[in-house]
């Protein structure tokens, strides 16, 4: 399954960008992002992206070469490991009962450039019966 980089950023920035509208620095503990993760989940559900976001996060978490700082659309000078910690926390928070991620990540997943318009069109096609 091809998953849009842009879609991931669209949702992830509700944590990595919006947090800094109300704070000057990162929280002492990653759990400080909780309310932002909750809003990311709400938005992903509303756009029908929650399943794709789960697969994307799982793929990212086992592929350290993916540049998550750029992906996150943050305007804060995060380090790569900090964004990965946020993604890990979001994954554990949103899907607390998820199976462990397979060593190679979910099979068949690729994270690629797909414009928001094209991604929305593909998602809409999937809902047509």
């Amino acid at each position: 399954m091809d998953i849009s980089k842009q879609m991931i950023g669209f949702h992830l920035r509700l944590v990595t960008l919006v947090y800094f509208g109300e704070h000057d620095d990162v929280p002492d503990d990653v759990a400080g992002y909780y309310e932002y993760v909750e809003d990311m989940k709400r938005q992903a559900i509303r756009f029908g992206d929650l399943d794709a976001l789960k697969l994307a996060f799982e793929h990212i978490l086992v592929n350290p070469e993916i540049d998550t700082v750029t992906l996150s659309q943050a305007n804060f000078p995060y380090e790569e490991e900090e964004v990965r910690e946020i993604i890990r926390y979001a994954w554990e928070t949103i899907w607390p009962d998820a199976d462990p991620i397979p060593p190679g990540g979910p099979p068949g997943v690729r994270i690629v450039d797909i414009s928001p318009e094209e991604w929305r069109a593909r998602q809409a096609d999937k809902t047509v019966t």
């Binding site: 842009q6 919006v18 109300e22 309310e35 938005q43 659309q73």
Partner: protein, 213 residues
């Protein structure tokens, strides 16, 4: 009390506080529309407790933009100590009219993308989304910036004195910015949707969610 143009002394003081002498002085050579935009922008920022004008208003100097990248401190509230807010991209609007116009466009973008007009100020339903972010592409250039040069991240002292990897030893100018990033959140104390971030977007890696028609 108001002067002959209907501008109250309170508004003038607010203008001075928000834009610093440099910003107020610059208005002397601007159009009436730009002065009115500055007054309205200051009113909105004061109402919502925002920092956008402090950090991204057209009064912010190039040295201040670069200083934020190098030290992590933003040019907030010129009468007070600078505030810790490190960033990889320090940007400013070309004018207060652009600040206002692009802010309105952000609300338009959220309406187009999410189907909700936050200007109507309807509180979110229980369990509904309380925060929105939008990247808008505008018709023309709305600002400029300096960005931290890739590969030059350095340790700088944070407010506690601890060294953190949040600064840049070198910066590069970026002109011709056409995009803004805006975040709007529900404030239950103010009982309104308020803009908590509004800035020219220096990065081109964030795709526009909404293109101004």
């Amino acid at each position: 009390m108001a002067d002959a143009n209907g501008v109250s002394k309170k508004q003038i003081l607010d203008l001075y506080e928000a834009l610093a002498p440099r910003g107020v002085k610059s208005l002397a050579t601007r159009t009436d529309n730009e002065i009115l935009a500055a007054l309205e922008a200051v009113r909105l920022e004061k109402l919502e407790g925002g920092h956008s004008l402090f950090r991204h208003g057209s009064q912010v100097s190039h040295p201040d933009l670069k200083d934020r990248l190098k030290t992590g401190y933003a040019p907030d509230a010129w009468t007070k100590p600078k505030r810790w807010s490190p960033t990889p991209g320090s940007t400013r609007f070309s004018s207060y009219s652009d600040w206002m116009k692009t802010r309105d466009a952000a609300f338009d973008g959220i309406l187009a993308n999410h189907g909700v007009d936050l200007r109507l100020n309807v509180p979110p339903s229980p369990g509904a989304q309380t925060k929105y972010a939008i990247v808008v592409e505008h018709k023309g250039v709305i600002g400029g910036s300096h960005v931290g040069r890739p590969g030059t991240k350095v340790n700088i002292p944070d407010p506690s004195g601890q060294l953190v990897n949040r600064g840049y030893s070198a910066t590069d100018p970026v002109g011709g910015i056409k995009r803004t990033t805006t975040t709007i959140v529900w404030d239950s104390n103010l009982n309104r949707w308020k803009v908590v971030q509004h800035f020219p977007q220096a990065k081109t890696t964030a795709p526009a969610d909404y293109v101004v028609p």
